[in-house]
Symmetry: C2
Subunit: 225 residues, 2 copies
Amino acid sequence: MNQRTLRKTRELEWRRQDLLVSAERLFSEKGFFKTSMVEIAEAAEFAIGTVYQFFKSKEEIYISLIEAKMEEFAALIDERLAAAASSREKLEAVIRTKLEYFERNRNFFRIYVSEWSGFEWTMKSAFGERCWKRYQTQLDLVTDIVRLGIRRGELRMVEPAEAAYALHGMLNSTIYLWMLQAKPSGSLAPKADTLLHLFFHGVDNHAGNGGAKRGRPNRRAAPST
Amino acid sequence: MNQRTLRKTRELEWRRQDLLVSAERLFSEKGFFKTSMVEIAEAAEFAIGTVYQFFKSKEEIYISLIEAKMEEFAALIDERLAAAASSREKLEAVIRTKLEYFERNRNFFRIYVSEWSGFEWTMKSAFGERCWKRYQTQLDLVTDIVRLGIRRGELRMVEPAEAAYALHGMLNSTIYLWMLQAKPSGSLAPKADTLLHLFFHGVDNHAGNGGAKRGRPNRRAAPST
DNA sequence: CACCAAGTAGAATGATGATTCACATGAGGG
DNA sequence: CCCTCATGTGAATCATCATTCTACTTGGTG
């Protein structure tokens, strides 16, 4: 009898997951408001009524989705972070993990960035609040890494939160750029090195001629894009 | 007669502007979908019918709004850029201008970032297309600056588009962070220096002890936030 | 003063889409 | 084979707006 109940619960969970996957695709393609419950139901091959068996409302679907993904992502970061010692390694872990994660969860990325600008716009109070907290926690984590790095003398003295946000923005933009062009193309993960370098050393050319003229104007040094 | 007509036209323009200002505030507070025409009308102290005298649709209001602001912003950048010679100066101009502009146009910022993730989510095809172009042009401008800077040997050899996007993201994040906390507080513009430095030199501590231990652990070097 | 044009108003219309509910279906179990 | 509960169904309900339309105001003109 209990056995039975358990299986039922498990199956219910499958269906929920299944539905979430369909919903994710739709939401990422058309946004929260332009996606209708009927569409979600059809995409997951359920009747509307059934959908409401699993989720109280459209909003709840959206939130479950985001929370699950965020949690997964956070867990991944934590795991990778555990193995890192220096600030550099930690930041590298963050960068790599984020790029990898969103390379694999392209659809989710659009939702993630669009909600960045404020959950209030789509969801009402209480629920959105929780998602927002997760978002913040993520950022705070990086802020702490930077803070510690400074204390240890590994990083220059910058405003930690500012640097953390800057990194966050850099990453998001980069992922976005990649999504724009690279529908099918190359992998995102390799950019981690470039980004790490950029975040640590900036764009300045230390080679010596900083701003001033030099012998040869060094034409065609730029990548050919 | 012509005089008359001219004045009428001008007055109409005023009213349009007036309406746009109200709409901007609402859109920035509640987003496109959660803002209703009635609200917009009330906020601007018009009747709904009157609103439709000025704008064909809700979408048109939104778009006019965005286009106007984007154009204003672009013009400002162009102007500042004209006075800049080196890549550093140019990038500094971009950074400063953006921070200043959004410090003054806080409301618009929320709209700006939220639409970053794709106009398709809110608007339909043709119009959104035009806004998107503007957005791209903006980014391309910076890409070109970077490309040129590399060719001139002022900047390290990075992928120009990547760097441009990274900068864009850094700026947006920073502005966002500022908006979060600093409801009333300090100015945003001063952060330009920090950001410029960050973008040029990164967070690495060149002071010598990169990662390794040194004499004193240098505790409490971090800002007290 | 009557009349017209231009502008303003806000109730009525129509669509859309989330949510609900009365019914159908089918898997145990007697 | 029939009954019953647990689920699944999708048509009907209900609300919410964008948009339209008809009637009202106003200010100028003959």
